[in-house]
Amino acid sequence: MDAINFPVLSLIIFIPIIAGVLMLFLPKDQKDLVRGLAIGAAAAVFLLSLFVYLNYNARVDQIAQQQANTLTMAGRGAELAAFNLENYAPELVQATGTVSGGSLTSTQMYKDGMVFEEYVPWLPQLGIAYHVGVDGLSIPMVLLTGMVAVAGVLVSWRIEDRTREFMAFFMLLVAGVYGVFLAQDVFMLFFFYELAIFPMYLLIATWGWVQLREYAAMKLTLYILIGSVIALVGVIAMLFVASDFYQNAGAGVFEAAKAANILRADTPTFNFNLTSIMLAAENGAFNVAGYAGNDALTFAKFWFPFIFMGFAVLAGVFPFHNWSPDGHVAAPTAVSMIHAGVLMKLGAYAALRMGVQLLPDGAAVHLPWIVFLTLINVVYGAFIAFRQRDFKYVIGFSSVSHMGLVSMGFATMNLTGMAGAGLQMFSHGAMTALFFGCVGMVYDRAHTRDIPSLGGFIKVMPWVGLAFIVGGLTSMGMPGLSGFIAEFPIFAGMWRASETITLNIGAFSLSNYYSVMVVIASLGIVITAAYVLRVTSQVFFGDFDREKFPDVDDITPRERFVLLFLGTPLVLLGMLPSIMAPMLEVGLRPVLAILGGGA
């Protein structure tokens, strides 16, 4: 296959931005034009995302093939000529990846899995570049963002109050989210991360649910930003350590990486390139004892909690989950969808990228206790969801519970669990967007979200009822739907991890406790089943009271399309996990390699 030479990823980021800016200059009353522009832009980025998704495997194979060829020509590894994604072999990388005084293995794997790269120097003096690319971890997220963007525009079709501003901010939000998933430069990652937060604030505060919106929007913004700025300081400190390393002990590795084409030849030692920092991490730059004058402390051990938790705030990890249900409930439907569906994954994704991938030794020390927090998420979140009377709060807390599973998957630090976490990110994203879509459609017509006063809605809105049931079954992990293939590996990974992970706090040492946690966590699934069934029976079944809800009618074809659009991947992924799992594996191998666990 020929290389596609147009900058796909940049288009994905800039189409929404341009569309958003254009909208602001349209006349105030041209609402249909604004909507048209919005759906056009959203559809365009979705199609481009799909294109990237579908071409990912071929691209990686191509790169792998090239590598195999190079090796063959160099007289090594002739047996590796039949080289493809399924047996994307770490041994091959091993063959190229060892240099004197250090190792390139993980970084090489990471670099090999990254395609559609674009690189434009932005602030070369400080080693900052506009550098985008996708790897196995980000690619499902990119597709998810495109889906939710389209669905979000469609469900917001009937917003009449300042449509122009709403759509423009929504587009900016989409661009910011894309930017984070695509950034291969730490600075760019922060840039887009913060870029996404502000439109979120305005969207919730201006178009949200009147009773809660100002409080919830502010709470959400401050929580997320405090987390991210603390992480920012840590990351800057990390860069100086890496730069110091490359100027002294790591000079050989740095040159070798340039020679192996992992880093560009003009990379300065102080740079913001994710790959370069990963290389420093791989070679132990952050593990030098004696950080901050304390013999027992290393950079990684000290900063991991700040950086990981700084981002995990957005993933809703206990005890920093508090902003999330309020934020979801207060937000207009489209924003709830993108927020719970995509933005929370942004936190998890960034925590994995910046925390686990760059500070693996910190992860090995700290994740064994962070797993307790995620357990609280899973069980406590589900309990609280069960207790809610407000339809939207149920979904809000269910997100807290499900995102806990994602973080729990990270904490397993093995392929099974982390792949499960990756699948869960996608599955939960589509599922929760579907849920919020359903809630929004019910609320728009019934004007109440009080569960006991609703009832029998499946009779007037059969599509919504059906979609909610599909989402609900996914949520409780029914086999055949994506929830099962996401949650099952997480639990399996926990069992596996139980044998290897020990928690050490001072003289206290705890081992084999992951297995106990799985048992407790599975309780969360039971409660999930309970609240899903409760909501389904109370809202959708029973008698429909026409006098109470005189305006309730069936949904429009546009809304049906939204439900279909978000529901299909749940089923598809549940039936054919192989459309996504191998990619995640390619994305996770380097992370696992740097964690030292291998595959």
Partner: protein
């Protein structure tokens, strides 16, 4: 020090331009009929901006003597001129451009302000103040420091009290005068002590003498005079705890004056402060075994922490938008002082960070004040709650204000994000991680009150929603230029401006 007037003249090209401008404005003031007096603002504004542009194009600093063999040579060699009074380098260039732009945009946004827009003397005094600020950027001699400082500040006293019939304006002018002259007194005392110790007035001369064997016995008096001088600068940049004049003066002064005061005077003072501290008390200076740099670095850190925390916390409770921006400006001085503290790493990036921050802060603050001028001229109110419904009354104005506030709060893509990023990065580089942490947490507190203002503009309803706010042509241009500058400085223009700022830094570590 040799003194060649002919060679020295190009160095003060902007100041010569400003003097000519002052005379032109004076003449126009006498000759223009009432109907055409709006042109005063246009002439001043465009004139100042043109001066900045010409200065950039023709009198930029060069490393060597420009080659004049092919006729006229562009550029002037870096170095000391006017007998060591002023230094010509990229740092001076950046800050001169900043104050010229600030003066020009201020003039343009005064055009329709009642009571000052059509008064020639307003523009005249504004130009003189700009001239002083421009001299401050290059001053490298104690005499010049004081002269430039007073040339900047005394016109500002007058400008602050310019609306004579308005009690608040007079109060503001008086307060500014009392506090300002007290600060000048302290500063002058510190400077005179330094002269007394060394018998020198030039920065390099003082530094050399302090470091020599002749003065190697006692650091305490030197630290005393340094403290006095920093306190003096602290007043000028409105750093806490020397900020007490700021809110009252900002609130009472006519809004264009507040805008000018908040950027030009502050930027020039920072330029002077950096040049003075690095020139007189460099890293290498050791008196009696004591490193002087550590002292002022710690002092700057303390001032930074107090200013950021106090400014941001007090800003939370403000009801008047100008007072809010006054406390925000105290906090911004605190952030910038992080850069001053980070000078201990002896790295170009910290100076570049300060220069970049001031550059983007100028546009940002002018943008915010331009919106406030338009709003208060149309409604007569400066209360934050009265901004309610602005996004319905004039969506573009609301958007412009939003961009300004986001830039102040440090949210991308506005320039404030990258400005703060540079400052925090330089702090981390100087191993001041604690200071950087306090800085980032403060920026979150600040974001809260900026977001509240944005929320009021977008969410809250008001009874006047159907009354649009008119924006006349010069304001459209000011808004367009500043909005574009804020966005571009946060995105594509970062690299060239940062380069420029780094070049400016290089001269100081010679």
């Amino acid at each position: 020090m040799d003194f060649n007037v002919w060679q020295s003249l190009p160095v003060v090209a902007p100041e010569i331009g400003l003097t000519i401008m002052a005379i032109v404005v004076l003449a126009l003031d006498l000759s223009l009929p009432e109907s055409k007096r709006r042109n005063l603002a246009l002439v001043t504004g465009v004139g100042l901006l043109a001066t900045a542009l010409l200065y950039l194009l023709f009198w930029f600093p060069t490393a060597t003597v420009p080659d004049a063999s092919s006729g006229f040579a562009f550029g002037v060699q870096e170095g000391l001129y006017w007998g060591g009074m002023v230094r010509h380098d990229s740092l001076a260039q950046i800050f001169k451009v900043i104050v010229l732009i600030a003066g020009g945009l201020t003039a343009l946004m005064s055009i329709d302000v009642k009571g000052i827009g059509r008064k020639g003397e307003f523009y005249l005094i504004l130009i003189v103040s700009t001239l002083g600020a421009s001299l401050m950027a290059g001053a490298s001699d104690l005499i010049m420091v004081f002269l430039a400082l007073e040339t900047t500040t005394i016109p500002l006293y007058i400008l602050a009290a310019f609306k004579r019939e308005d009690g608040r304006s007079s109060e503001s002018g008086m307060k500014y005068f009392l506090f300002g002259s007290f600060a000048s007194g302290l500063l002058l005392y510190g400077l005179s002590l330094l002269y007394g110790f060394t018998g020198q007035t030039s920065f390099t001369g003082i530094s050399a003498y302090l470091g020599s064997a002749a003065f190697n016995f006692n650091a305490v008096p030197v630290l005393g005079s340094l403290t006095l001088i920093i306190v003096g600068f602290g007043f000028k940049i409105s750093a806490a705890p020397f900020h007490f004049w700021t809110p009252d003066v900002y609130e009472g002064a006519p809004t264009p004056v507040t805008a000018f005061l908040s950027v030009a005077s502050k930027a020039a003072s920072f330029a002077l402060m950096v040049r003075f501290l690095l020139g007189v008390f460099p890293q290498t200076l050791v008196i009696n075994g004591q490193e002087i740099q550590g002292f002022w670095v710690n002092l700057a850190s303390v001032l930074a922490i107090i200013s950021m925390t106090l400014g941001n916390l007090v800003a939370l409770g403000q009801k008047n938008i100008k007072r809010l921006l006054a406390y925000s400006s105290i906090a911004q001085a605190g952030y910038t002082l992080i850069g001053v503290a980070a000078l201990q790493a002896h790295s170009d990036t910290s100076i570049a960070a300060i220069a970049f921050y001031m550059f983007m802060y100028t546009f940002t603050n002018l943008l915010a004040f331009a919106v406030i001028i338009l709003f208060s001229e149309a409604t007569g109110s400066e209360k934050i709650t009265d901004l309610a419904g602005l996004s319905r009354r004039n969506p573009m104005l609301a958007l412009a204000m939003t961009i300004a506030l986001l830039s102040l709060g440090g949210v991308p893509p506005a320039a404030g994000f990258i400005g703060k990023f540079f400052l925090f990065q330089s702090a981390v580089e100087a191993n001041l991680i604690g200071l950087a942490m306090i800085g980032v947490l403060n920026s979150i507190v600040a974001l809260y009150y900026y977001l509240v203002v944005i929320k009021i503009m977008y969410v809250d309803r008001s009874e006047d929603e159907d009354k649009p706010i008119p924006v006349s042509r010069p304001y459209v241009w000011v808004l367009a230029v500043t909005v574009l500058a804020v966005i571009l400085l946060g995105t594509v223009l970062v690299s060239p401006i940062f380069d420029w700022a780094v070049r400016g830094a290089a001269g100081l570590f010679a």
